[in-house]
Symmetry: C2
Subunit: 193 residues, 2 copies
DNA sequence: TATTCATTTGAATGATCATTCAAGCTTTAT
DNA sequence: ATAAAGCTTGAATGATCATTCAAATGAATA
C-alpha cells in the first residue's frame, strides 16, 4: 500500500512549483504526472488524491521555508542585519518570474479559502507560525538592544507580515526593482521606528 | 445580436459576487446561470463567453468602486478624516464574511495573472488607477496642510495600497476586528509620520 | 529456474465543464 | 390578423477532468 520508491521531496517540490505557477484548480493530474514523473496510480497510492498531494506539498513547503528562514538568522550576526537580508531576498523573489513568484501559502489561501476549511486551517496555521518565528527574532533584537521601540514584538511581526503579503501582491501589478525595494525599505524603517 | 432585455448592471454585480466567492475558475456557467438568471445562450450573446463576462464584471467593479471611493471624500470634510473613514470601511469589509471578503481585482490577479496577459493588464491598470486616485487625495491633504511630511504623495500612496493588499490577505488568516483595526491604525499613522 | 507477491502502468470510466444550436416563443410591423 | 424577425430556451456536443482498475512488469524467494 505505502511505498517510497521515488524521491518524495523531489516529487513534492515539483508539485509545489506547479501549484504555485498554475494554481491548484488549473493544475491537472496530467500536469502533475508530467512534472513529478509519477503515473496517476502512484500518486493516488502515495497521496490518496490531488487534494492529498496539495496537503503534502504544503507540509514540504513549510519545512523548506522554515529551514530557509532559520538559515537567514545565524547567531554570529545581528538580528536586524539578518532581517534586512531576509527582506531583500523576498524582494528579489518577487522579481524572479521564473521561480515561485508568489508564496504557495498565500496563493492557495486566496484560491481555496472559501471552499475547503481544513486546508484553510493548515495554511493559516503555517502563516501564523512564520509570524511567530519573526516575532521571536524581533524580541531577540530588542533584548540585544539592536531594536529600541516601545511596540510589542507580536504587533511588529504582524505589521511586518502584512507588509510582505502586500509587497507580493503589489509586485504582481508593478514588478519594478526600485519601487519594490523602496517599499521594502519603508517597511523596514517603520518597524524600527 | 446585441441586446439589453435584462438589467446589465444587476447581472454583472451578480457575476462579480460569484467570481469573488468561488474564484473565476471554479465558478461554472451553471453557477452563473443561477446567480444571473440568464440562460447560457443569453450570456454568450451578450458577453461572448465566460472570459468576456469576467472582463465586463471587472469594468463594472471598477465603476462601482470608483464611485464609492469618491463618495468617501466630500469636499466639505478634511481629506485625512475621509481617508481614515475609508480605511475603517475596508477593515469592516474584511470582516464581513457574507459579502465580498476579498477584492475582485486582487483575487482575480492572484488566480489569473500567469495565464492571461490581457486580463492581468486590465487588473493592473485598475489597481494603479486606484493608487493614483489615492495619491491625488494625499497631495490635496498636503496642500491643505492636513498632512505634513517630506515624502512624495506617490510614494505614500504606494505604501498605503501595499498595506491594504496585505491587510486583506492577513484577514483571511486571522479575521479579528481588534487586530485588523490595530494594523490599519498603524498603517495610517505610518503614512502621517 | 520457477513461483509468488507487490508495484507500476496507462487505458477506461463517469462526471463536469464551456460552448453551441435548432426549435419554440414573443414581439413588432404591416 | 398575419407575417417576419429576433430573442429565449435548454438539451446536445465534444473536450477535459479526477479517479479507478485490471493487466503487465519487476523483485524476491525457494
Amino acid at each position: 500500500m505505502t511505498n517510497a520508491q521515488f524521491d518524495r521531496e523531489q516529487v513534492l517540490r515539483a508539485a509545489m512549483k506547479a501549484f504555485m505557477y498554475k494554481g491548484y484548480g488549473k493544475t491537472s493530474m496530467q500536469d502533475l504526472k508530467k512534472v513529478t514523473g509519477l503515473h496517476p496510480g502512484s500518486i493516488y497510492c502515495a497521496f490518496d488524491n490531488k487534494r492529498g498531494l496539495l496537503i503534502a506539498a504544503l507540509e514540504q513547503y513549510r519545512l523548506d521555508r522554515s529551514g530557509e528562514f532559520q538559515a537567514f538568522f545565524p547567531s554570529s550576526q545581528p538580528v536586524m542585519i539578518s532581517l534586512k537580508n531576509y527582506l531583500n531576498d523576498i524582494v528579489q523573489g518577487c522579481l524572479n518570474c521564473d521561480a515561485p513568484q508568489a508564496c504557495l501559502l498565500t496563493k492557495a489561501l486566496s484560491e481555496i479559502s472559501e471552499q475547503d476549511e481544513e486546508i484553510q486551517q493548515i495554511i493559516a496555521h503555517n502563516l501564523q507560525a512564520w509570524q511567530q518565528a519573526l516575532a521571536e527574532k524581533l524580541e531577540q533584537a530588542k533584548i540585544q538592544h539592536e531594536l529600541t521601540t516601545t511596540r510589542d514584538s507580536d504587533h511588529l511581526a504582524r505589521f511586518f507580515v502584512m507588509g510582505i503579503y502586500g509587497l507580493r501582491t503589489f509586485a504582481h501589478t508593478y514588478p519594478k526593482t526600485d519601487v519594490l525595494q523602496q517599499l521594502a525599505d519603508q517597511l523596514y524603517s517603520d518597524i524600527c521606528a
